[in-house]
Symmetry: C2
């Protein structure tokens, strides 16, 4: 893992996101995990449950924020995700004012990193080989399910 | 209602979104409703359940898309919402390629209508007085809950 900007809390946060991704894979789901920390305090975590719950909005970051529950403020928090956040998850980050996002990789999906940066979110991209391998294998084995998850209409 | 661009399906779709908003109000929740139609076919509907479910991601449009369930394509669909979609809900619309959004009002919250238009989504704003009144009353009576729902940190 290329992680020059990560401190010990970041390592714990990202490790939990990766653990969630592996849990999603074991359940037969889309293997994307996420966690939310405030410094060293773990606020919650989650993973993509499109398949498990039949819910297209249950992306990893959304499931994480749902598990964290209601908050009056996200000041000082960092969201960890194994994959670059899509428009849905980036929208949640922007809406709730999450100031910092640590992203495992953007090789398999580029997401909306520019939109996040444009809106003032600090994006730390760590180019993690393990997350890249897990996601790459999933996409190779489940191309239609992956397209469904990111809104690529195969009928177009 | 100022609705020059609405056809009969739009009127049915918007009426359902408004019904969902009123249901949310009756439950003590944030009164924003949404529905998804494909022409005259009702695909599903929902309303904000932040309070009811303790879930910050359950905005009206997200709850609607969750209730609709998994789809391989959103081509030809229209999403109806009583209020201008926020960054989270606009992100969902962009990700899933929903081509058209009918918005009740943007007087109480301007949302991300420009982002939607920039990404090629057709936005029809109908400036509905009933939706405006319901939302205006809710915000006046529940300012902190409303700030929480749109990510305005009162500690800032």
């Amino acid at each position: 893992m290329n992680q020059p900007e990560l401190d010990e809390h970041d390592r714990a946060g990202y490790a939990l996101a990766l653990e969630e991704a592996l849990l999603g894979a074991a359940e037969g789901g889309v293997p994307i995990g996420s966690s939310l920390f405030e410094g060293g305090t773990r606020l919650g975590s989650g993973h993509n449950r499109r398949v498990q719950n039949g819910d297209p909005t249950s992306h990893g970051e959304i499931d994480c924020l749902r598990n964290v529950g209601r908050r009056a403020s996200y000041a000082g928090t960092t969201l960890y995700s194994t994959l670059a956040p899509c428009a849905l998850c980036s929208g949640a980050i922007i809406l709730f004012g999450i100031p910092r996002v640590v992203v495992g990789e953007n090789r398999n999906f580029d997401g909306e990193l520019d939109l996040l940066r444009d809106r003032g979110v600090e994006v730390v991209l760590i180019d993690d080989a393990e997350a890249t391998a897990i996601m790459g294998q999933f996409i190779a084995e489940n191309p239609s399910l992956w397209n469904e998850d990111i809104g690529v209409d195969e009928g177009d």
